[in-house]
Amino acid sequence: MAIFKLQINGRSYQADVEPDTPLLWVLRDHLGLVGTKYGCGIAQCGACTVHINGEATRSCVYPVSAIGTSKVVTIEGLSANGDHPLQLAWDEVDVSQCGYCQAGQIMTAAALLKKNPKPTAEEIESGMTGNICRCGTYHRIREAVKLASTKTASTTTKKS
């Protein structure tokens, strides 16, 4: 065990865990941040996606010891009031079925839009293909990302 100091959602956390513990389980089991989901544990489904220094990252295969001083953002910290353009678009398009995959979908999309605020349909597709939705909400995910991108482009977004 070792103590790791972590910068998550603009706050400081500490966890006393084994160095190889994936960030996913540190968030869930030790810090009470359960919005980040477990789906496969082998970087295949995207349910566990968080941002590490702005990059969409599969937290299920990212050991806590590799984080260092990097800044982590989880779904809980994506926006102050649940009003990130993607979160609003998800509601407007009524995307979720079971909802389990959606935090990961949104985190992947948020990193995508940060890099490419006006993605084409193909760019959305290739950016989101790493995320599985077993309920098959892909059409609406695509629509919501598109909707958010039009809104993001016309308003100034808060930097987190």
Partner: protein, 716 residues
């Protein structure tokens, strides 16, 4: 090392809070007194305020109406659509409705389960009556107060109105008085034309919680002192011979390694510690039953299709032998599907705390009552001593109809005498059984010289499939001479209902075969089906258990919307199926791109009666089609020595965003009482796609997954 791991989480959090310097504790458990995370909606019954009118609703003096949603929510959107029905009859302002998941309560609710798309038909009248009854009581309370006739009162937007005098009282103001009145037994339900909420798109009531990552799911449940557990289960047909857990037990965070019923459970303080220790447990297995592999099943299928032993006749009309003897043309074809895993995104998990005074169960289940009954039996505890809270389900697809993972948690908690959450890894989920059974069908059709279908035979053989046919479905009733039978092979590989049980594959096989018959008869596939329906209506053979006119309705709607037979440059395939009381027809459109078939679009026409929530219904339809397409195209489980070879999403392929076609949904508007939509859109998809592929390539795909078929061999 060991000393710090022994600290309870609460100690840890205190330590972290003081040592961190500038550490902010704003989230969930970190700011709460208790060291736990409660899932939203848990223990809803106790938490809800207001005056209770009936099992379904209570009204607060602030006018907030709390509607209890009894059935587990797994993405079928029931937690939104059911309250809509109650709110409609109550005449309430939807913005003032709060929906909470009711815990298991057999006294308040019957059929508190999710499966078979059965909740809507079961509950439609009950929900409406619950709303209408409360509305009537509110009106009567107002009538008393104003000393007017209840017949002179109307309601609107959570308000009772006396038009003549212009007086108004809000539901909140009337709730207390109203709740004390006798419950009327004969209330007037609304006329459909007066619906204000039903039929309008209403967004998922949980959407905001989902997109902000609130704890909602079983996996999100954390309790003080809770231990985490993973279980190593044997391959099918094997049993535990010996366990060497010494090394695992010495690993950090591990509390115990317990063997029960051929399960070896690793119990510890965190998921990761348990997962690591699991690899250190050495288990030797021995043979307990047949050890089967996929090639064994392939051989077996061929045998069973020709056997005369243990054949169960499911339906027999007319004289099939004579019909085939006199036939001018006989068409014969076989179709096969592999086992499938349900693989909901949230893997199986359950929390159990077995205490001397009772049992607490929390988690995702489609059948809470079954889970409680079986837990009671297992532990020898009275069912009344067991509480069960239903969390949101991260998908189910039938897997959570089983109680196995609930029982594991309960048994383990009683063995280690601590609260335990059992979690299945994805690998456990795919190797742990209860699969969609593997099935093979043989169809035979006899045509007379005028190309009329005069004889029809279907034999289904399956592994733990029960009856793999649906003998009364179309085209039964439309063919004078018909024989449907089945043979089942019993296997240690466990199976269970998988979204649209049996019909998820049968519909594909049948609708593809009917396409073959239409082709052999030189008829248009749509006209061929419509002619059969006309015949079934004019001259039915035996019992007909589908509504001929409703089936015709969706066929015609799908044909119309897709421009059937009128398009250039695309190849269309047709399919229609009746399952779970709803009707869905689909047209698949394939284009040839660089010599390869590419699915471009699916048109769907559904008849589920009144559409309660168009937004939810549309998504159920789209999701069902994506599910049907994905599994038909890509997914399979194969076995080697009783062990599933595909065990995670790297080798068990699920459909992804870049593989979906455009989907266009239409609904028949006929005002009939609603039926479910969680399943019925899935069965027709495979056939619509396969028949379009045939039109485009001249090749039939007959086995799932399609991707392994010849026509796709060169296609990635």
């Amino acid at each position: 090392m060991a000393t710090t791991t022994d600290k309870s989480r609460r100690d840890f959090m205190k330590l972290a809070a003081t040592a961190g310097g500038g550490l902010l504790l704003g989230f969930g458990w970190t700011s709460a007194a208790a060291d736990s995370i409660s899932v939203l909606g848990e223990a809803a019954g106790a938490a809800a305020g207001g005056v209770e009118f009936n099992s379904y609703l209570s009204i607060g003096s602030d006018g907030i109406v709390t509607i209890f949603s009894p059935n587990p929510e797994l993405g079928q959107n029931i937690k939104t659509s059911f309250p809509m029905v109650v709110a409609e009859e109550l005449d309430v302002d939807w913005k003032k409705v709060k929906v909470v998941q009711a815990p298991l309560d057999a006294k308040k609710f019957d059929r508190q389960l999710t499966g078979g798309s059965g909740a809507v038909p079961h509950s439609w009248k009950r929900l409406r009556t619950a709303g209408a009854t409360a509305k009537q009581m509110l009106k009567e309370a107002a009538a008393k107060r104003w000393n007017v006739s209840v017949n002179d009162l109307t309601t609107e937007n959570s308000t009772v109105i006396h038009k003549a005098s212009g007086r108004k009282l809000s539901y909140g103001e009337l709730a207390m008085d109203a709740s004390k009145l006798p419950v009327p037994t004969d209330v007037q339900l609304k006329d459909r034309k007066d619906f204000k909420i039903i039929g309008k798109p209403v967004r998922n009531v949980e959407q905001k919680n989902i997109v902000t990552g609130k704890p909602l799911f079983g996996l999100d449940v954390y309790r003080e002192g809770m231990l985490h557990a993973m279980i190593q289960r044997p391959a099918f047909g094997m049993k535990v011979k010996s366990v060497d857990a010494a090394a695992a037990k010495a690993m950090p965070g591990i509390v115990d390694v317990v063997t029960f019923k051929n399960n070896v459970a690793i119990v510890g303080k965190s998921t990761w510690q348990v997962k690591k220790a699991r690899q250190a447990v050495k288990i030797a297995y021995e043979k307990a039953d047949n050890i089967e592999s996929t090639p064994d099943h392939d051989r077996l299928f061929k045998q069973l299709l020709d056997t005369s032993n243990e054949v169960v006749v499911r339906r027999k009309d007319g004289d099939v032998e004579a019909a085939f003897k006199s036939a001018a043309k006989v068409i014969k074809s076989e179709y096969q599907c592999p086992f499938l895993s349900h693989s909901p995104m949230e893997p199986m998990n359950f929390f159990a705390h077995v205490r001397p005074d009772g049992v607490e169960l929390v988690g995702p289940t489609q059948t809470p009552e079954r889970a409680r009954t079986e837990t009671a039996k297992l532990l020898g505890v009275a069912p009344e001593k067991i509480t069960l809270e239903i969390t949101r389900l991260g998908g189910g697809f039938g897997r959570r109809l089983q109680a196995d993972y609930v029982l594991e948690a309960a048994e383990l908690s009683s063995l280690v005498k601590a609260p335990v959450k059992v979690i299945w890894t994805r690998e456990d989920d795919m190797t742990g059984g209860s699969y969609r059974p593997a099935v093979r069908y043989r169809f035979e059709a006899a045509l007379d010289a005028q190309n009329n279908l005069i004889g029809y035979k279907l034999r289904g053989v399956g592994i733990n499939s029960g009856n793999p046919t649906r003998e009364d479905n179309f085209p039964s009733g439309a063919v004078e001479n018909l024989l449907i039978d089945s043979v089942e092979h019993k296997s240690p590989i466990t199976t269970g209902p998988w979204r649209a049980p049996i019909t998820n594959f049968l519909a594909f096989a049948e609708q593809s075969f009917l396409d073959e018959v239409a082709q052999a008869a030189g008829k248009d596939p749509v006209k061929f089906r419509l002619d059969l329906l006309t015949k079934a209506k004019a001259k039915p053979t035996g019992a007909i258990k589908y509504d001929i006119d409703r089936m015709r309705g969706v066929i015609e709607l799908a044909a119309e919307k897709s421009g059937w037979g009128k398009k250039q440059g695309v190849f269309q395939g047709f399919s229609v199926y009746f399952s779970h009381a709803s009707y869905v027809a689909q047209v698949g459109e394939v284009a040839m791109v660089k010599g390869k078939p590419v699915l471009k679009k699916i048109y769907a026409a559904g008849d589920c009666g009144i559409v309660i929530n168009p937004s939810g219904a549309r998504q159920q339809m789209m999701g069902g089609i994506v599910d049907g397409l994905g599994h038909a195209m890509y997914s399979k489980l194969t076995f080697k020595d009783g062990l599933a070879q595909e065990n995670n999403f790297n080798n068990y392929r699920l459909i992804r965003m870049n593989e979906i076609p455009e989907i266009e949904c239409h609904f028949v508007d006929n005002g009939i009482d609603p039926t479910g939509l969680g399943e019925p859109a899935l069965p027709p998809t495979g056939g619509a796609v396969a028949n379009a592929i045939f039109k485009a390539t001249g090749k039939r795909v007959k086995n799932q997954p399609f991707i392994d078929e010849e026509v796709f061999k060169t296609v990635s």
